[in-house]
């Protein structure tokens, strides 16, 4: 009996190791890169503790289901006249559950004509992608969308 249970044990661990792919085993270790930063800290660094309001002016486009987390197209457009008095100063893109939530900080000027930015991001797991917009009037607007990831992109 002992031998049987021993073999069973080996088979179980072997099977588990095969099923748990490197990426999953990796997330269990909770890797922290040198730039690891959580969402609250990242937002506070930008707003200085001021309140952020969700706004329909900010349009965030991302797929609802991403088959490959390594390449997720994200685009942000902000409804703004982009004049010298009233323009979007910055667009920040966050992936809320990556070890470093910051993806890109885009500093815009009135010369852009239109407040838009698009790129492709890596997502480790299913999570919210968030855009934080800073306007020249000192407002902080945000928009978020959930993206379901079938295969994670950080591993």
């Amino acid at each position: 009996m002992q031998r049987r249970s021993f073999l069973k044990g080996i088979m179980m661990t072997g099977a588990a190791a095969a099923v748990v792919s490197p990426s999953l085993a990796f997330s269990a270790e909770a890797p922290k890169g040198p730039n690891a930063m959580d969402l609250d800290t990242a937002i506070k660094a930008i707003t200085g503790g001021k309140s952020v309001s969700a706004s329909a002016k900010v349009q965030l486009k991302a797929p609802e289901i991403a088959e490959n987390g390594a390449v997720v197209p994200v685009s942000v457009t902000v409804d703004s006249p982009m004049s010298a008095e009233d323009h979007v100063k910055a667009i920040h893109i966050f992936a809320t559950k990556n070890s470093n939530v910051r993806c890109a900080d885009v500093m815009l000027t009135p010369a852009n004509g239109k407040a838009s930015f698009s790129t492709r991001v890596k997502l480790g797991t299913s999570q919210d992608v968030m855009a934080l917009v800073v306007t020249s009037k000192g407002e902080f607007l945000s928009a978020a969308q959930n993206v379901k990831v079938t295969i994670g992109g950080c591993g």
């Binding site: 490197p22 990796f26 890797p31 890169g33 040198p34 730039n35 390594a70 390449v71 997720v72 685009s75 982009m82 992936a95 990556n98 070890s99 470093n100 939530v101 910051r102 993806c103 890109a104 900080d105 885009v106 500093m107 815009l108 000027t109 010369a111 852009n112 004509g113 239109k114 407040a115 838009s116 930015f117 698009s118 790129t119 492709r120 991001v121 890596k122 992109g153 950080c154 591993g155």
Partner: protein, 110 residues
């Protein structure tokens, strides 16, 4: 080491006052620093583009700070309002200090 990159304008024809999309595409590994080398088991150090500057005739109009969360071979697309003939230049630097520059000419149609 020169990094391969491309600057594109969309649409191809435009007039003064039109808003066009300027994209920068770079061939870059964008290593997160969390991935392991399969043979040695060591972590591959982080290596990503952290600074991108778009400028028109020497005047910067957009600066981007990016992090390792962007995909391999990243694309950065921003808008630009065409003000006249000139040249758009895009300078980008990665965490190893490799600085590159690429550009494209702006020729609005009358």
């Amino acid at each position: 080491m020169a990094t391969k990159s491309l600057v594109k304008i969309k649409p191809k024809t435009y007039k003064v006052g039109d808003v066009v999309e300027v994209s920068l595409m770079v061939m870059h590994p964008m290593e997160t620093g969390l991935r392991k080398d399969k043979e040695t088991g060591n972590l591959i150090p982080a290596h990503y583009i952290n600074d991108v500057k778009f400028s028109f005739n020497g005047t910067p109009f957009t600066t981007i700070k990016s992090w390792e969360s962007l995909s391999t071979n990243p694309v950065y697309t921003v808008s630009y309002k065409v003000s006249g003939e000139g040249e758009i230049k895009v300078a980008f630097t990665d965490t190893k200090g490799d600085a590159n520059e690429n550009g494209t000419k702006i020729k609005p149609k009358a």
